[in-house]
Symmetry: C2
Subunit: 291 residues, 2 copies
């Protein structure tokens, strides 16, 4: 809105959905954000997401112009968020940092530990916020996690990509499910598909996040335990799911979903960047794993 109001052009000109030219924003109205949910972190980043329900495209756009000038983060505003969206928001925060962690370059221990610090804190505070919605300590730490997760301060220089978000957006563009729920749905299967390609990162997660003792275990074994712990966590908050749990009972849209994912999120390659590159067939396979 800040962009469209200032430049008076259709928003989709700025959003990459496969068109030849993507317009660059030159001006935008100043933005002040007052988040009422701990989740996607718009209060401290410069991105946006929009869905076209007719073409089933859900795409991202961003510009430094869209950083909020001021954000007022008051955790009290989140105490009335219903349980289901509290959980989905928490999962969204976790995925924001895990994606950079799983896909970024090697040898970034501070960035990786900052990421796991956010994840661990969400894992600790989310069940508390679910049980006691007005627990201001849990809500405050979730709000802070939301703000830092995608702000750029936790992973500088690490690069990384967002294949999980890309695939989730295709899911949400075809089926009207919340962003965090779609991420929770796909996370274990993307991890299962990827961890043998890069066991070191997953083993590091297993040790640092879940305290798994590496003694006598290969990296691959540690990595697998890390995946299982992550599933246990998702199960504990009611988000270890299958497609049918979100109302998807057949695979008729999977091919189109995989196509749109590649077209929007990987315009210059035929695959999503991931330790195990995700071609169209790989994406379909992961969607099927979640059935």
């Amino acid at each position: 809105m800040a962009l469209v109001a200032a430049e008076n052009h259709p928003i989709w000109d700025y959003v990459n959905h496969g068109q030849p030219v993507v317009k660059k924003p030159l001006t935008a109205l100043p933005i002040i954000e007052i988040p009422t949910l701990a989740a996607t972190g718009s209060e401290a980043n410069s991105g946006g997401v929009i869905t076209n329900w007719e073409t089933h495209e859900k795409a991202v756009f961003g510009s430094p112009l869209l950083f909020p000038k001021v954000s007022i983060i008051d955790p009290e505003l989140t105490v009335t968020v219903p349980e289901e969206y509290t959980i989905d928001g928490g999962i969204d925060i976790i995925c924001h940092v895990m994606e950079g962690f799983f896909t970024g370059i090697d040898d970034t221990p501070i960035q990786d530990r900052f990421s796991l610090a956010v994840v661990r804190t969400v894992m600790d505070c989310l069940p508390v916020a679910v049980k006691e919605p007005d627990n201001i300590s849990a809500r405050s730490n979730l709000s802070w996690a939301s703000a830092v997760a995608l702000s750029g301060i936790i992973g500088p220089g690490r690069r990384g990509s967002y294949p999980l978000h890309a695939m989730q957006h295709a899911l949400s563009a075809y089926y009207d499910i919340s962003h965090g729920r779609g991420l929770a749905l796909l996370l274990p299967y993307l991890m299962e598909y990827t961890y043998p390609t890069r066991p070191s990162k997953y083993a590091f997660m297993a040790r640092e996040l879940f305290g798994i003792d590496p003694e006598g275990k290969s990296e691959l074994e540690q990595a697998k335990l890390g995946l299982e712990w992550m599933i246990d966590f998702l199960r504990s908050v009611g988000r270890f799911m299958k497609m049918k749990d979100v109302g998807i009972t057949d695979d008729s849209n999977f091919e189109k979903m995989a196509e749109v994912t590649i077209r929007i999120y990987s315009p210059n390659k035929q695959y999503l960047v991931n330790p195990r590159p995700l071609y169209k067939e790989d994406i379909i396979r992961i969607f099927r794993m979640a059935m």
Copy 2:
């Protein structure tokens, strides 16, 4: 220098050393920093430290004007740092984050884990850099740890104080020892003096930083184990020390040192802010513990 050159006033007018009025900087030359040591983090903060050898005062000053406009952090420039200063620099980084951790408010798990992330990484990389001075991975992670440690991004909202730095500055102002070495010298004794007052923070450190299993242990017991692990680390890098190891063989200056510490670092109180407040007598006691 950036300040004195721009304002043409003596630097000690800007530095609190007990005078009635402390001058506020209004302008400064722009600063570009190219650190050649991973340590005190001037590349990403706005503070400075200066020693007056005649009055034995070592004091800090700071101003947003003194943030570098640009910092060029090239870890290759640190590969020729001698072993002894590599170690002292690493200890300095650890203390920068541990002080905020030990003294800040409760219920800041993300900030605390960010702090321990930096500490753990320094503990891992410092012995590598000592053994293989041109190991660019270890040097890079130490350089990044240096930059983030005192940059303000790891502990927002946590407040906290710097009693260890304050006491170390008195030590360095009387005896010409490196900053990091003075910190290493005092750290275990300040921890020992403080941990029973706030076992929860120290127990958190013990669990998260050293993987101590809390099963069947009180917080106080966990906290004590954390202290012992920290001493083990300092010993492993040759920095678990006594006063005599840095050439201090009598306590004749301790009273003056404690006085100057309070005068410079706690002008409005008679004690240094710490979970266990440090009056003059407490400071002398800690200096004596280190004999």
